[in-house]
Amino acid sequence: MAQVTLRSLVKRFDRTEAVRGIDLDIADTEFVVLVGPSGCGKSTTLRMIAGLEDASAGEILIGGELVNDLPPKDRDIAMVFQNYALYPHMTVFENMSFGLRLKKFPKAEIKERVEQAARILDITELLQRKPRQLSGGQRQRVAMGRAIVRHPKVFLFDEPLSNLDAKLRVQMRTEIKKVHQKVNTTTVYVTHDQVEAMTLADRVVVMNAGRIEQVGPPNELYHSPRTKFVAGFIGSPAMNFIPCRLEESGGGGLTVRVGDGLVLPVPSGRTASYRAHLGKELILGLRPEHITEAHPHAEPGTAEFAVPVDVVEPMGMETMLYFAMSGTQICARVSPETPASPGATVNLLADLRHMHLIDPTTNQVIEVPVASRGNAQPSADATALRRGVG
């Protein structure tokens, strides 16, 4: 078990830079997920930690030891691949014990370790099968077993669930989390699926175009994204981005004017931070769950408005409404009881306590003091309560 440290890590392929100077400290036993769109450099970063790619510049330390020049086998890491990469001619037992056999471990210990890992993963009865006799989920377990038996310092996962169907993916996600809780090994996990990242990670590293956009616990990324990219990438459906202008209102307050004459009040706690941007064209970021159906007891910091709905998507426990505003499509998340049909006008409520203002010139979210942010828990409860009532 060990911490992993990346210092100014760079990877160049010919003339393109895949990874452009990454600094990251991963603590011992921590579960870190690298997430980002394809081509953002997350897999390359993982492969550099594994030693499958050489770093063009920068340092990689595992357990405080510089490993840049060490081959993969001497880095004491184990990796789980997207397509499992099981040896097709070996049984599950042979697959899992291959690394130990190469290192000439005593037979009794190999057997003990494989059986222990098989118990953790619930694959004991599969040990004598060949990979082709296994289902996708079972193969994934074996691939994890092969990693576990080696008791490595670090686990590396490269999109391990991408080849599984949706239902199995959710199941294996839980499985991976359980395994991590049992074996408690430092883990670096790469995925393009932000839901996987949110559910698994102690900390999420959002990457874009070879750089780290933001590092933080899942909830922090969700509620306080620092850039427009993170705000749009984390969360499903994605955050709504609406062009707006910040204006002065009577009594020292601020408002955001959204294109078609809709004026929304900025909660008082945020005015101090936003005042510097008065009069500028900005982007209002508001998550779908913060645009809900209107209800009689509007709280301060919320604003009601009416719009004609374009598309209604019932999901069962909630309904997504899509409408156009300022030339962009906006998604609202309302209670399934809300009467809505395409073309009909619906009264909605924007909860501006969770608003983000983004400066389009820098694509940075304008920072607000922690105290004045719409705190996650109470308002989420309030939303749930409202839905229950409504």
């Binding site: 499958l52 081959p71 993969p72 086998k73 890491i77 990796m79 397509n83 040896y87």
Partner: protein, 302 residues
């Protein structure tokens, strides 16, 4: 209501009928061409078998050449008791086994290196290997004469008219092709497999022996069959490089010892050719099952 149901079932039946009809048409033509090709390809061996069972009197008699009226094994017995023929067979067997061994020892590691160890010029080299195969052997045997003469002058070893010279020249045909087959076979093995082996602590040699050779076994068998066929059936090189009766291999031996001047001993020539064709046939028959089984197992890789 009943009428409507009846009409619907009629339509269904008609539709099914048309599918069945087009299938029958496709099957008919498949069988037609399959039978045609079988007849074309099996006619020569059949003719050889028929002729080999005839006495020389019956061969020259004016009777139906496609049937044997007085079958006899005298041609086979004559050949098998002929000491020369046994020598040819032994020479062919030793040469072929050595060529297969040499070809595999060279082309498996070569293909692995060219397919997997990306080094400067590896792609060019791989193409070069294939181009080597495209040079026809009829262009090469004269340069070979020169090389052997040159080597004799330096070392004092006479290369010509020794059966073992074929062990040196056949790999020039078999190695490039085997390497080429194996490069494409190795390239089809997912890259993650060697990366997993690398992380598991395998070196390149272990990766080759423990992962690539077992996984690529069907491809290796295909290459083995090819190398064996080249060494067993080639005619030009042994004709050019060996002359003494005790140095000949089967294909040349049959022709040179059974055709005396303008006298063709057809019965024995046919019997000898059939015996000569038997080993590759047996090897194909045994390995083909395994070969196909291996191919399909590779398709649903783990």
């Amino acid at each position: 209501m009943a009428a409507a149901v009846e009409t619907a079932s009629h339509i269904r039946a008609a539709r099914r009928g048309s599918i069945r009809g087009s299938r029958r048409k496709a099957l008919f033509w498949s069988y037609f061409f399959l039978v045609l090709f079988v007849v074309i390809f099996l006619a020569p061996p059949f003719y050889m078998l028929i002729t080999s069972l005839k006495s020389s009197g019956e061969i020259s008699a004016q009777v139906n050449p496609w049937w044997v009226f007085h079958p006899t094994l005298e041609n086979y017995l004559g050949l098998l008791t002929e000491p020369n023929f046994v020598t040819f067979f032994r020479n062919s067997a030793v040469v072929s086994l050595c060529v297969v061994a040499i070809s595999m020892l060279i082309s498996v590691p070569a293909a692995f290196a060219l397919a997997r160890m990306k080094f400067w010029g590896s792609a060019t080299l791989a193409t070069g290997v294939f181009l080597t195969y495209l040079i026809p052997e009829s262009l090469l045997f004269i340069p070979f004469f020169r090389i052997f003469a040159f080597l004799r002058d330096i070392t004092g070893i006479e290369f010509l008219n020794h059966w073992w010279v074929l062990i040196i020249v056949y790999p020039t045909l078999s190695v490039p092709f085997c390497t080429w087959i194996l490069i494409s076979y190795f390239a089809s093995i997912p890259k993650e497999l060697d990366e997993a082996a690398l992380i598991d602590g395998a070196g390149y040699i272990q990766m080759l022996t423990k992962i690539f050779i077992p996984v690529a076994l069907p491809g290796i068998i295909a290459a083995t069959i090819f190398a064996f066929t080249v060494a067993w059936a080639d005619f030009l090189y042994p004709l050019a490089f060996t002359t003494s009766a005790d140095q000949l291999v089967l294909p040349v031996g049959i022709v040179t010892t059974l055709i005396k001047g303008d006298v063709y001993n057809w019965g024995q020539i046919m019997a000898g050719s059939l015996i000569c064709a038997a080993p590759p046939l047996i090897i194909y028959a045994f390995l083909m099952d395994y070969y196909i089984a291996g191919l399909t197992a590779g398709a649903t890789k783990g």
